[in-house]
């Protein structure tokens, strides 16, 4: 376990040596500073009054969740895009000739090595997003003098979504020793396939008369991780205190993650370097 932690720490160090994570951290800080400036000029009671006047009776908790999500939703998407890009080279770098030889010559198992690389990558994204989320939460909670901790759970959903995408990067990194393919597949699933399958299943499937085509969409929907649902309804429900309303996207995505990790670990354990 100690070896896994050492590799995880080395991965975090590697991540922060890259400008992408520093850029996102700096962007988070900028957003937080702008928020402090903006909210210091606003009166909380007047804000609640004007929102209610416009759209009916919203509780203070709902208003706070909406304000928090207004900041977090676009930034978490950006964080995931940047994180996929920055983390895609973690495994290929580790597998470079001269580096992997050294790591494998140490008393650490191959499973521990790959696990450390995986947890390190996930941890660095969690730290990055947590700084932003805790900052947004503190600013809004202080402003409204209302403390609801459920918003902090959104950091877990975003990290989980990244963990799913990172498992793809890890697997293709181990197989190809290159960052390009894994990154492209992760982006394809996150930006195109997952939203498309969700829309296909919910909106187009009822219009399709062919049973086989409908079944195909269903099969693909269940196999492919539901990053789109995780980052939309999953994130909103958790952040606004409703908890996990539908477990299916979480469970099927977790299964996908475990399968990817399993294949990656198996492939790595059999590979010659």
């Amino acid at each position: 376990m100690k070896s896994v932690w050492i590799i995880s720490l080395a991965t975090i160090k590697e991540a922060f040596a890259r400008k992408v994570f520093i850029f996102f951290l700096a962007l988070s800080m900028l957003v937080l500073i702008i928020m402090i400036g903006t909210y210091s000029m606003l009166n909380a009671d007047m804000l609640i009054g004007s929102i209610n006047k416009a759209g009916g009776n919203a509780s203070i908790k709902e208003i706070m969740s909406s304000l928090e999500l207004l900041v977090i939703s676009p930034l978490s998407g950006l964080c995931l895009l940047l994180s996929v890009f920055a983390s895609s080279s973690f495994v290929p770098n580790m597998l470079e000739k001269g580096n992997i030889d050294l790591l494998l010559s140490k008393p650490i198992s191959r499973n521990q090595l790959i696990a450390g690389k995986y947890f390190g990558g996930v941890l660095v994204v969690f730290l990055n997003i947590f700084v932003l989320i805790i900052g947004v939460w503190l600013i809004i909670s202080l402003k409204f003098s209302y403390w609801d901790f459920s918003f902090l759970l959104s950091s877990l959903v975003i990290t989980f979504t990244f963990a799913v995408l990172y498992s793809i990067i890890l697997l293709f990194g181990v197989i190809t020793k290159s960052s390009a393919l894994g990154m492209m597949i992760a982006y394809f699933i996150f930006i195109i396939l997952s939203p498309l399958l969700l829309a296909g299943r919910n909106q187009f499937a009822p219009l399709i008369e062919n049973d086989v085509a409908r079944k195909m969409i269903d099969v693909f929907y269940y196999i492919i991780p539901k990053t789109s649902e995780l980052m939309s309804s999953g994130l909103i429900n958790l952040a606004s205190g409703r908890g996990i309303v539908d477990y299916q996207p979480f469970i099927t995505s977790l299964l996908f993650l475990l399968v990817m990790l399993g294949i990656a670990i198996y492939t790595f354990s059999k590979k010659d370097f």
Partner: protein, 312 residues
């Protein structure tokens, strides 16, 4: 106790979906005892690095068995007593010399004040103490090699694998590395050395192996391997006239230049009778030494012989 033991070790690399097979190692059986410096020689692609990689679990053997420090290769815990300097080693460029040694020391199970002390000692030993906090990306090839050597020693290993340790190091640095290896040997450490610098291997190794196309062609004590059987050089105090030198059945004079005679004898009693013959003529003998071939000559002849189809 044998530090390394291999039995019929083989490695086949397959490419093009198994259509093309390369035998990187074939039926390699080798034993290395504690406290020895073993030099493995071979042309490029002979399988030297493959052997080290198999022994360290970086590559898997296709056939045969091996143990390192009494452990089977699948049990990775033996590696906490092993150091390794790979050829063309690479360290994360964002780390400095101290951080590199700390990372690999930690991975070897070392830590705390003891590791910090060891890091300083090693950096001083390889003349890098003043570069302790310098990022390794700005290091020269020689500096990287010296850092690699420190890295290989950070866990105070009993067995050290060095793959071309003097690559890119200047002559003074080479001498320092040689001295360091002798020092490690005096501490009963075992050193497995891969090098194509034959003169260097000859200087420091107790035993050598010659590998070609995955086969171990010759293996043994350096002195024994390089000894020219029953050939001696006799140095006398005074010039010897040709008429004093009589060849007999067991003695053949190969060379005679002034006070130096090179003879080939059938047996040691023949040599002694030849010396008696000289002494009988009041010739003063200053020294008698067995003639040796250089490791380089031996290497070339063994490789040529193998290419001619006669192995061993």
């Amino acid at each position: 106790m044998n530090v390394i033991e291999t039995s019929s070790l083989g490695k086949v690399y397959s490419s093009n979906f198994g259509k093309k097979n390369v035998n990187a190692l074939q039926e390699l059986s080798l034993t290395i005892e504690r406290g020895q410096i073993f030099g493995l020689l071979g042309p490029n692609g002979a399988g030297k690095t493959t052997l080290i990689k198999i022994l360290l679990g970086i590559t898997f053997q296709t056939s045969g068995t091996a143990t390192v420090l009494g452990s089977e290769l699948k049990n990775y815990h033996f590696k906490n007593k092993v150091g390794y300097l790979p050829e063309n080693h690479k360290y994360p460029s964002y780390l400095n010399a101290h951080q590199v040694l700390k990372l690999f020391g930690n991975l070897s199970g070392k830590g705390g004040a003891e590791l910090e002390k060891k890091i300083d000692e090693l950096l001083a030993l390889v003349n890098l103490l003043q570069w302790k906090k310098t990022k390794v990306k700005s290091f020269s090839k020689g500096m990287m090699q010296r850092l690699g050597l420190a890295q290989a020693l950070v866990n105070d290993p009993d067995l050290i694998f060095l793959d071309e340790p003097t690559d890119g190091v200047d002559p003074i640095g080479r001498k320092e590395i040689r001295d360091l290896l002798f020092n490690l040997k005096s501490q009963n450490k075992t050193i497995f050395l891969n090098s194509h610098l034959l003169s260097e291997v000859e200087l420091i190794s107790d035993r050598v192996g010659i590998l070609s196309k995955g086969r171990l062609l010759r293996e043994g004590n350096v002195k024994e391997l390089t000894e020219r059987k029953q050939e001696f050089e006799i140095l006398t105090e005074n010039f010897i006239d040709e008429i004093y030198l009589q060849q007999s059945d067991g003695i053949k004079i190969d060379k005679h230049e002034g006070e130096v005679i090179s003879v080939r004898v059938n047996s040691l009693p023949d040599l002694n009778s030849f010396i008696d013959q000289l002494r009988g003529k009041n010739i003063i003998i200053k020294s008698i030494r067995p003639l040796r071939t250089s490791l380089e000559d031996l290497f070339i002849s063994v490789i040529k012989e193998s290419e001619g189809g006669n192995l061993k």
